[in-house]
Symmetry: C2
């Protein structure tokens, strides 16, 4: 039942190739802006999408193409979100058609995604002109594809794992992008997951929908819910395991391996939040139910004041209490404990809703780490949740003060 990390990203599972090139959507020629992922054979596929009413055209087209729970390729550009454009659907469909034609697959088996600025028309021309080059570049190139979907991301976000289902080696790989407009309650930004596991489309969708509740939906960078968020998974069955068709032991192990990948990418997205210098992990226990634990955790990591305090290494725990108090859950204020923890130590700051004395010196030390946990015990029940966010910094303002130019 072991899950081992391996190299290779989305190309780690059998039968997947990837490519990432610069096609000209971005002015900077050294920045890749077009990615392709292709499975040798048609795959079971599932997706979760932004719940924003303003949806990017690619989201609309991808949802339609995934209705049959099958796909074979992903095409994705960065530099332009193809959202709020009158010709958006047409352009997204054309991207699918180009990918299908080039890869000689069915155009309804193409997942399309775009990320970047909203409300500027996306010209199909650079994409059309680059299809030959993109196809030629297909290979063990998960990193290049990962680079091509990045916007203001400063690091690539990739993971792959290997595990055995009844003695058969199986793999899951994933790449993602995060950064701004990242908020709980959605499948955050763009995540593409590949697997060579054999699983029914229905169960794949169930596994993904369940997974995002405790992974991508628990991440917040700035509380802004993007219009283009898409998380898709393709499982092509080439590992040769007995096809998963019920929620037995194989499904559970697959779900655990999937969760390993999605939580890892979630943490990477939070840590690489726009301008962020610190990963903030909020662990809540003692919730009456999971919803309560999740809402408390999300409220804390979303608070601008908590985020700014973490940037300043200021143990201003009153702001944590404040964020719990307005999260909409019926907590008992007088049974809340709060502890800050990092690799530099542990600091109890609040017991039963009231402040306790602590050393400001130790506080500065604990909060100077680049990964900080805010541990909260609500003492009302047995349910837990974890959410991931980041600090609020000068650079967040700088990056977002003039994003378009």
């Amino acid at each position: 039942m072991k899950i081992n990390e391996i190299l290779g990203g989305v190309c780690a599972p059998k039968g997947f190739k990837a490519a990432g090139i610069h096609c000209g959507i971005r002015k900077n020629k050294s920045k890749k802006d077009l990615a392709l992922i292709l499975s040798e054979v048609p795959a079971a596929a599932a997706g979760v999408y932004t719940s924003n009413l303003v949806k990017g055209a690619p989201v609309v087209v991808t949802k339609r193409n995934l209705q049959d729970k099958k796909a074979q390729a992903v095409i994705c550009n960065s530099g332009n979100a193809n959202t709020c454009n009158s010709d958006g659907i047409e352009v997204a469909e054309k991207m699918c058609a180009l990918a299908a034609e080039t890869c000689k697959i069915n155009r309804a088996d193409v997942i399309v995604a775009s990320t970047g600025v909203i409300g500027q028309k996306l010209s199909i021309e650079p994409i059309e002109n680059a299809m030959g080059e993109l196809y030629s570049a297909l290979g063990d190139n998960s990193e290049a594809a990962n680079e091509a979907i990045m916007t203001t991301d400063t690091v690539k976000k990739s993971v792959a794992v290997e595990f055995e289902l009844n003695g058969v080696k199986c793999r899951i790989g994933a790449i993602g992008k995060g950064i701004g407009m990242v908020c709980p309650n959605m499948a955050t930004n763009l995540i593409f997951i590949t697997s060579d596991v054999a699983i029914s489309g229905d169960l794949l969708q169930q596994a993904l929908s369940e997974d995002v509740k405790s992974s991508f939906n628990m991440v917040s960078v700035d509380g802004d819910q993007s219009t283009n968020d898409t998380c898709c998974i393709l499982a092509n069955g080439l590992a040769g395991n007995v096809t998963i068709t019920d929620k037995g032991a194989d499904y559970k192990l697959f779900a655990r391996a999937l969760s390993y990948c999605t939580v890892k990418i979630s943490r990477m997205i939070a840590k690489d939040g726009e301008g962020a210098t610190k990963l903030i992990e909020c662990n809540v226990r003692g919730g009456k139910n999971t919803k309560m634990a999740r809402n408390v955790a999300k409220s804390v990591i979303k608070s601008s004041l908590v985020k700014a305090a973490m940037f300043g290494a200021d143990a201003n725990w009153g702001r944590v209490l404040c964020a719990i108090g307005y999260c909409g859950e019926n907590v008992n204020v007088n049974s809340i404990d709060v502890t800050f923890r990092s690799r530099f130590g542990k600091l109890d700051v609040c017991k039963d809703g009231y402040g306790i004395d602590f050393s400001e010196e130790l506080a500065k030390k604990v909060l100077s780490a680049d990964e900080i946990a805010i541990n909260i015990d609500l003492k009302l029940g047995k349910c837990k949740a974890t959410a991931w966010g980041c600090d609020l910094t000068y650079d967040y303002v700088k990056i977002n003060g003039d994003y378009r130019t």
Copy 2:
């Protein structure tokens, strides 16, 4: 039916005196930290409070004292919120007792409020020692009281108006503080309103509760809902008008005059938001109902990405659409128009949900003003709302990165 602005703040209405002094809660001796407002006679009184479950002790005590809809004095300190302290209620009650004793009034007729850092014990000693000096300072000193309730506020927030009820001159005055932890859905931070109008306590409460829905509840600085927000009004009847006991013409004019004051203070709070350089006013029309219009307006002014774009004078209207899309209201994305407007001009950026070409030069000019309107037409009905916020700047991060030290 005219409402005229006059000078005097909370001392403009007949029979009110105020004082503000430095008592020693703050280390900086040049910063006043204790305020008192006193009515010559007991007054009808009403309040609205934070809906945060974590409530400052003064909020709890004030709510209790206002149950009989009567009050005669307000005591308020800055520098410490007296929140999340095990002895908080005791200290808040002691503040009421001290004010009552000094002013020779009933201790249940005292409104108490505190603002500042959460979770540090508030010593009663400096307050107790200063009561004589505070009482001696009572006079036409609305400005001093206003100064004493400020935290990181950079300007005093004060207004007073005069109007006639059946030929009798009446007045309303108000002082407020805003700054951080300011978020819609509450009576924002501390606002004290005085009036010499004669009105029943019940109608005064109704007028205030109705008013805040379109004034203080429509302000957001950072989306963090404070634990200590309190807006109280005292109406002592000394103007000599026929007591308002029904919702007739006199009530309506009083409500209009009250709204004049609260909207003015709301705009001041938004414009003086922590680190803010710009007031952002979001005007929504065409809502199916008022709730829809309000939620759209609030979602836009709360968006960190919209706020950062306004700071950078970047006409990134896609972020406005994005914030509308996740506000939870069932808008029609394809019937939304967006216009930016300031004293430097008007810029149409989005028509029926799609981008329209505009001059980047004009955009920079319009958005370089210190007051910017984001006008949104949902084209679904006749309901309107306005919300006020500010831009997100480096200084917000700086101020909040290390607030306690």
